[in-house]
Amino acid sequence: MKFASRLVCFDPAPGDRFRPMSTPIYQTATFEQEQTDSCGEYEYSRSGNPTRAVLEKHLAALENGTRGFCFSSGMAAIATVTKLLRCGDEILADSDLYGGTCRLFSKVIDRGGIIAHYADARSPEQFESRVTPRTRLIFAESPTNPLMRVIDLRKMAAIAHAHDALLCVDNSAMSPYLQNPLDLGADIVLHSATKFLCGHHDVTAGAIVVKDEALAEQICFAQNAEGSALSPFDSFLLLRGIKTLKLRVDCQQRTAQSIARFLASHQGIKQVYYPGLSESSDYELQRSQARGPGSVLSFTTDSVEVSKAIAECARFFHIAVSFGGVNSSIGLPGTMSHASVPSELQAARNLPPDLVRISVGIEDEEDLIADLDQAIHRAISIQ
C-alpha cells in the first residue's frame, strides 16, 4: 500500500461493535473490570486508552516500527527517551539541536547524573571520536533546526551500534512521510507531533516509535509510571490531522522549493539554508535518506535589524514558534525558539544572529512569495 493510502486505511476502532469511520473518543479516566483479580485490555487511561491505542498503533505503522507511544508534548517524548539512561550514562548529541532539547539535557537530566556532550555530527569521524565507554544514547535531528544541516543517519546508526549505544532521531522536521529513521538504522524515532503530524496548530503532542520489543517495554513502563501520555481528545485530533499529512506536506514542500529558489536569487538575502536547493552541499545526502527536503528553511540577511524587520513586515507569515502547520510562520531562532540554548553552546554552534527561519504553510504560493518580497523591500528601505 502506498503512503497516501496507509494514512487513511487503518482500523479506526478495533473491536468496536458500531464500526464508526472515525475513532471514538474514550474520554474516560477508568474502566470497569469484570473480575477483582484481573483486568481487561484497559484499566486506567494513564496506562492505556482505546483512542490513544489506535493512534499509537497507526504511528508505529507509519514509521515502519512495531510499537508507538504518544505523549502530552514532544518534550515529554524526549524526556521519556532519557529515562532509558541511568546515573553516569552519557548522551552524545549533534550540536545543532532544538533549544528545548538542549535545556532538558543541560539543566534537567544532569541532576540525575546523566551528562550530555555535543559535537558536529556532519563530521562523523570527529563525532565518533567524542564517543566514550559511557555513551549510551546518540541523539540527532535531520535536517537540523534551524540551520537545516543534513546529518548522515546511516553513519550515525553505525557509530551508535559500534559502541553499543542507541540512536534516537528527532524526525519532527520531516514527518514519517518524508523520512523513516528506523529504516536507516535508528533504534528510536521521535516526533513533536505538534508539527507536521498534527498540522493544524490545535494539538501539543509527542510520539516515540521503536521496533525492538525490549525497548518498547521500557518506554511503555516510563509512560505509565510518569503519567505523560497523550489525552484522549488530543489523540482524536491527532488521528484526524494525520489523515491529510501527505496532502499538506506535498503542498508545503512544493511552495517551500519555490520560496527557497526565490530567496536564493534575491539580492537582499545573503544565504539560504535549505537542502532542497541543488547547489546545497547537503542536497545529495538528503536525497539519499529522505523523500524530500521538507518545508522549513532559513536564511540570513547580514543585518539583525533587517531580519527582524522582515519578520515584522510579513503579513502571511505569523511571528510564531513551532513549524509544520497549515499557516506559515516566521521567526528569529536566536531570540525565539533557541533562546533556551545555553550561551556557551550558542557560541559553539555559531548560530547567525540574523538567521530567519520560516515554516511554509499551505497558503497560495504566489501570495507567500509576494509577501516575502514586499517584506524584504520594506525591511531594507526602513534601515
Partner: protein
C-alpha cells in the same frame, strides 16, 4: 439497567447507562464520527449516519428517558430545534395549536416567521386558566403547548386540568419542563403526552452546551418525531451529547442547592425596601402556591422581581452587578441576571408584554450555585449603586 424504584440521584448517574461493551470504559465513548461501516450492503450495527443516530447521542437519549421514565428520549441540537421538529411532526397546513402566552419568545417567533407561512396557526392564551384553553380549541387544533412555570413571571399552569381537556378533545398536550426538569416536575405523570426540555439549562447545568430533548410514552409519536428529525437534520451533536451526559449526573444535587439558594434570596428580596414585588413559587405571597405544592416537588431557582424605582433603576441595578452575570439563558452554575423587557422578550409586542406582567422594571434572576450570601451582597450593592444613579446605559440587544 432498570431504574424502577431507584432514587433520582441514582437514576441521574446510572439510569439508561450501559457500559461500552468493547473497552468497559466507565464513561460512554464520544463517537465523533459522521458515518459507520456496514457489514454488508444494507447490514449495519444499528448506526449508519450521525444525522440519523449516533451511539453517544443514543446514550444521552437513554439517560434522559430514564429521568423522564419514558422510552429513550429524542435529542436535538437546540431547544428550538426540539420544538420546531415536534411541531412539524404533528402539524400540517390548516392545523392549529394552542400555546401558553408566557411561552419563550422564540416559540412565538417560530409561529410568526415560519409556521404561519406554512398555513399553521396558533392561539396564544393565558393557560393558567384552563377555561381559556378549552375556549381556544377548534376542530383544527392538534396540540396544546404549555410552559409552567411561565417565563419570566413564573405564572403556573395546572397540567392535570389542561390534560383533562386535551384528552377530551383528542389533542396532544406538550409541556416545556425546562425550568424544573423531570426531577422537580413530572408532566407525563400529570397527564401530558410530551415533555420538552431545553437541555442547555439545568440538564447540562454548566453553560457548556446548547441542546433540546423530547420524551413521550407514545411509541408511534416517537417514531414520527425521529423520522422528521432525520429529515430536518436537527439531531444533537456527539460532543454536546457527551458533555450533557456528564452534566446530568449532578442534576439532582445541583437542583437541590439551586432551590435552597433561590428560597433564601427570594425571601431576602421580599423584605428589601427597594423591591416592589417578588415572583417565586416558594413564597407564601405567591398567588398559586397551592398549585406549586401540588404539581412541583420544589419551587425551582428562577426568581423575578420588580424594583419600586422603575425601569431606569432596574437597568442601573443590572449595570452594577459584579458577581452576577448579565446574560441570557438560565440553569447554569453561574447566577445570571436579565432584564426581560429589553432582552428575552424584546421581540414581544409591548401591549402583550404589559398583559403578561412583563413590566419594564422586571428583573429575572437564575440563581446559580455561588454562596447565597455572596449573591445577596452583590444585589444589595447593585441596588444601592442604582439608587445613587450610577450605571444608566440603555440595555439593548436583540433577542436570541
Amino acid at each position: 439497567m432498570s431504574t424502577y424504584g431507584l432514587q433520582d440521584s441514582t437514576v441521574a448517574i446510572h439510569g439508561g447507562r450501559s457500559l461500552d461493551s468493547h473497552a468497559s470504559s466507565i464513561l460512554f465513548p464520544l463517537y465523533q464520527t459522521s458515518t459507520f461501516v456496514h457489514d454488508a450492503v444494507g447490514v449495519d450495527k444499528g448506526f449508519s449516519y450521525s444525522r440519523v443516530s449516533n451511539p453517544t447521542v443514543d446514550a444521552l437519549e437513554k439517560a434522559i428517558g430514564a429521568l423522564e421514565q419514558t422510552p429513550p428520549a429524542i435529542c436535538f441540537r437546540t431547544g428550538m430545534a426540539a420544538i420546531t421538529t415536534l411541531l412539524l411532526s404533528v402539524l400540517k397546513a390548516g392545523d392549529h395549536a394552542v400555546i401558553s402566552d408566557v411561552v419563550y419568545g422564540g416559540t412565538m417567533r417560530l409561529f410568526r416567521e415560519v409556521l404561519g407561512n406554512l398555513g399553521i396557526t396558533a392561539s396564544f392564551v393565558d393557560t393558567s386558566d384552563a377555561a381559556n384553553v378549552e375556549a381556544a380549541i377548534t376542530p383544527a387544533t392538534r396540540i396544546v403547548l404549555i410552559e409552567t412555570p411561565g417565563n419570566p413571571t413564573l405564572k403556573l399552569t395546572d397540567i392535570e386540568a389542561i390534560s383533562r381537556i386535551t384528552k377530551q378533545h383528542s389533542v396532544l398536550l406538550a409541556v416545556d419542563n425546562t425550568f424544573l426538569t423531570p426531577i422537580l416536575q413530572r408532566p407525563l405523570d400529570l397527564g401530558a403526552d410530551i415533555s420538552i426540555l431545553s437541555t442547555t439549562k439545568y440538564i447540562d447545568g454548566h453553560n457548556a452546551t446548547v441542546g433540546g430533548s423530547i420524551a413521550t410514552r407514545d411509541e408511534k409519536l416517537l417514531e414520527r418525531i425521529r423520522m422528521i428529525r432525520k429529515t430536518l437534520g436537527t439531531t444533537q451533536a456527539p460532543f454536546e451529547a457527551w458533555l450533557t451526559l456528564q452534566g446530568i449526573k449532578t442534576l439532582p444535587v445541583r437542583l437541590r442547592l439551586h432551590c435552597e439558594g433561590a428560597s433564601l434570596i427570594a425571601r431576602w428580596l421580599e423584605k428589601h425596601p427597594a423591591v416592589e414585588y417578588v415572583y417565586y413559587p416558594g413564597l407564601d405571597s405567591f398567588p398559586q402556591k397551592a398549585l406549586a405544592e401540588r404539581q412541583q416537588r420544589a419551587p425551582g431557582a428562577i426568581i423575578s422581581f420588580e424594583l419600586k424605582a422603575g425601569k431606569e433603576a432596574a437597568i442601573r441595578a443590572l449595570n452594577n452587578v459584579k458577581l452576577c452575570s448579565r446574560a441570557e439563558s438560565l440553569g447554569g452554575l453561574e447566577t445570571l441576571i436579565t432584564h426581560p423587557s429589553s432582552t428575552t422578550h424584546a421581540d414581544v409586542d409591548p401591549e402583550l408584554r404589559c398583559r403578561l406582567g412583563i413590566s419594564d422594571s422586571l428583573i429575572r434572576l437564575s440563581v446559580g450555585l455561588e454562596a447565597p450570601e455572596d449573591i445577596i451582597a452583590d444585589l444589595e450593592q447593585a441596588f444601592a449603586a442604582a439608587a445613587s444613579g450610577a450605571g444608566l446605559e440603555e440595555v439593548t440587544h436583540e433577542i436570541r
